[in-house]
């Protein structure tokens, strides 16, 4: 595992980060913030500086951070709508086919396609479709499962699921510059900035 652990927070902002170790590809910069409020301010600065390949990492969702990061609406809802309606349509179609084509039986003189009796199963199938859409849409949009990621190289990053708040800026960002970007993050309030090599 290649990592550049120690860029102490007391170092002057223009201190050169240590050169990447042999074989380690530079993933980007990881900055730690003290609390949700400083994270939100820092995110607004990174957003205004025009970065695109960057992210905030938190142990729990923080409301308003989407605006500070300049993110739009999550379209998981589209998956739910489409799959929910498809599920309901499939449910009704299946019952129509079974009751009128595959196994037509006259029950208490009712028409073969007595649709009001088919509403409960149609509804349940719709809910199943919607729930699968929510799960699938969430996994697809957030690119999960993904067990290998550059940030996992950082030991400090393990606390993101406990109590630490981070901003990561990837080296693939056109505006990325190891020194300039690190300075921006420090000025934005980060108390620890490190280079991560994946």
């Amino acid at each position: 595992m290649n990592r550049d652990e120690t860029t102490p927070s007391s170092a002057p902002p223009n201190a050169r980060p240590a050169p990447p170790e042999a074989g380690g590809k530079l993933f980007g910069l990881l900055a730690e913030l003290a609390d949700p409020e400083s994270l939100m301010r820092a995110c607004a600065r990174v957003r205004d500086a025009g970065y695109t390949a960057w992210d905030a990492h938190t142990p729990f969702p923080i409301h308003g951070l989407d605006r500070a990061m300049g993110l739009g609406k999550s379209w998981v809802s589209a998956f739910v709508l489409v799959l929910g309606l498809s599920g309901a349509a499939f449910g009704m179609l299946m019952q129509w086919w079974i009751s009128t084509r595959a196994y037509p039986l006259v029950i208490s003189g009712k028409p073969l396609f007595s649709w009001p009796a088919f509403v409960p199963v149609m509804f349940e199938c719709g809910v199943l479709g919607g729930a699968l859409g929510a799960l699938g849409g969430f996994l697809y949009k957030s690119r999960l499962p993904r067990h290998h990621h550059g940030l996992f190289a950082s030991e400090r990053f393990e606390r993101v699921t406990d109590d630490a708040f981070f901003i990561s800026i990837e080296a693939s960002d056109p505006r990325f510059d190891a020194e300039e970007t690190a300075r921006l993050l420090r000025e934005a309030g980060a108390h620890h900035v490190e280079l991560v090599h994946a």
Binding site: D35, P36, E37, M40, D55, A56, H57, T58, P59, F60, P61, I62, H63, L65, M69, L71, S74, V76, S77, V80, G84, M94, I98, S99, A102, Y103, L105, I107, K110, A117, F118, P120, V121, F123, E124, V127, L128, G130, A131, L132, A134, L135, G137, F138, L139, S142, L144, P145, R146, H147, H148, H149, L151, F152, F157, R159, V160, T161, D162, D163
Partner: protein
């Protein structure tokens, strides 16, 4: 009346949801401890007892498959005996989990975060218990696939005008959706356990299920949308499930079953009994796993208020059934209800009324709503009452039907009792394993309701 004092949340100026003002790391430590440390001896004792009952369940089912449904007390006129009672009982228990996780989420009841994980787990295990009963009740246990719309060599298909078919879809889809909802909620917490793992095995196993979650806010955004929509889907689903269960009865023409009040009455009863089960489990778990500050009297106070509400609704339904039986002028209907209250099963009816109508009325008093001993005893009494409610509905309506020559007094057999006790074995085995191997409190959600999580909370 002694006043129960709560800590005050410094941001919202309302009672603090978590006692003792812990930091984020403190929550992680408190919740992860049972998953990471040797469990107390009590855990082994409960697991041993649950496994014994689970063994009894296995023996009962094996004997049933060998000998047939004749080992139960089911017989004409009471052809629907304990298996159906137990099925409705367990489905009902499940409903409070979805109420807490989905309905209270939509109503922005933030106190739910301390108990929703355990309540959802309870939902899944209760649905498992419920699904077993119709499966083993069919008489020919090698043919349960007849309940599903599967192509087969007989070219036969299910009859979708029957509420029993609706039930197959409602309950199995309810189980599936609850599992999805529960798992999506678990992902961030599984990642926490992964990141704290000290052994390679734990890191790999929890890591696989955590899907590589890294707390990215771009992921949180989709996560929250998915969670909100799942809550929105689960809310009408849970109401539809017990409505469909009640249709099994209400669409028949039997006096005592054929009433329009059944869907709302069943829904209220289901949530009532499920909340009582959550209270029973949480009173124990918070002490055993030292989570008293996370699951504190405030949560019990609010659950007790919900039990008071749903218990009163159930009481209203009991009296309205009687009123309509008289007001309808239908002699058969009137007979069934008078027979319920004064006939051979009057003992069961009055057990039900005492447990379900009188016991929750004590929750008008705040001191009793926050008294753990009282909550424990009363919640068990409520579940006894709710089991008897289903007994009363099924047995008293059937045992004296239209033809007096076939009237009979239904009695359960040893195997009826063993199967019911065994299903509790399955439920408690699953729950005991759950509290040991998965975080029983939704850590990420609890952290988000702490005052420090507020962006505008200035450090003092």
């Amino acid at each position: 009346m002694a006043h129960v004092a709560y800590d005050i949340d410094p941001v919202e100026h309302r009672p603090a949801l978590i006692e003792g003002d812990p930091d984020f790391h403190g929550i992680t430590e408190a919740v992860a401890r049972p998953v990471e440390w040797r469990p107390p001896w009590g855990w082994y004792a409960v697991l041993a007892a649950s496994l014994s009952l689970l063994g009894l369940f296995g023996v009962s089912i094996a004997w049933l498959f060998w000998e047939g449904v004749g080992i139960w007390g089911n017989n004409v006129p009471v052809a629907w005996g304990w298996p159906i009672i137990n099925f409705v009982f367990w489905v009902g228990i499940a409903h409070a989990g979805t109420l807490i996780s989905a309905v209270l989420f939509l109503f922005r009841q933030r106190w739910r975060t301390s108990i929703n994980r355990a309540a959802e787990a309870m939902t899944i295990f209760a649905v498992m218990c419920a699904l077993i009963f119709p499966g083993i009740h069919i008489g020919r246990p090698w043919l349960p696939y007849w309940m599903l719309p599967l192509p087969n060599q007989m070219d036969m298909w299910p009859q979708f005008r029957s509420p029993l078919m609706w039930d197959v879809f409602a309950v199995s889809i309810y189980g599936t959706v609850s599992l999805i909802f529960w798992y999506v909620g678990l992902i961030p917490d599984l990642a926490t356990i992964r990141d704290r793992a000290r052994t390679r095995l734990r890191r790999i196993v929890y890591g696989i299920f955590a899907l590589g979650w890294r707390g990215s806010f771009r992921q949180w955004l989709h996560y929250e949308k998915a969670y909100l929509l799942l809550a929105g889907l689960a809310t009408p689903l849970v109401l539809s499930v017990h409505s469909v269960v009640s249709f099994d009865f209400a669409t028949s023409q039997l006096p005592g079953w054929h009433t329009t009040i059944f869907p709302p009455y069943f829904d209220a009863g289901a949530i009532f009994s499920g909340l009582a089960m959550v209270v029973t489990l949480m009173v124990i778990c918070r002490v055993v796993f030292k989570l008293e500050h996370v699951i504190n009297p405030l949560h019990f106070d609010r659950m007790a208020k919900l039990m008071l509400l749903t218990g009163s609704l159930v009481g209203y339904a009991y009296s309205m059934e009687f009123f309509i039986a008289w007001y309808s002028g239908n002699l058969y209907e009137l007979f069934v209800f008078i027979n319920r209250a004064t006939g051979p099963y009057a003992w069961a009816y009055w057990t039900m009324v005492s447990c379900n109508v009188i016991v929750p009325q004590f929750y008008w008093f705040k001191r009793l709503r926050t008294h753990m001993g009282f909550l424990f005893v009363s919640s068990i009494l409520i579940n006894v009452g709710m089991w008897f409610e289903r007994f009363v509905i099924v047995v008293t309506s059937l045992h004296a039907d239209f033809m007096p020559s076939s009237w009979d007094y239904f009695k359960p057999t040893f195997w009826d009792l063993a199967t019911l006790a065994g299903s509790f074995g399955l439920f408690f085995t699953m729950f005991t394993l759950f509290v040991r191997f998965l975080p029983m409190v939704a850590m990420a959600e609890v952290k988000s309701v702490l005052p420090q999580a507020h962006v505008h909370n200035r450090p003092k």
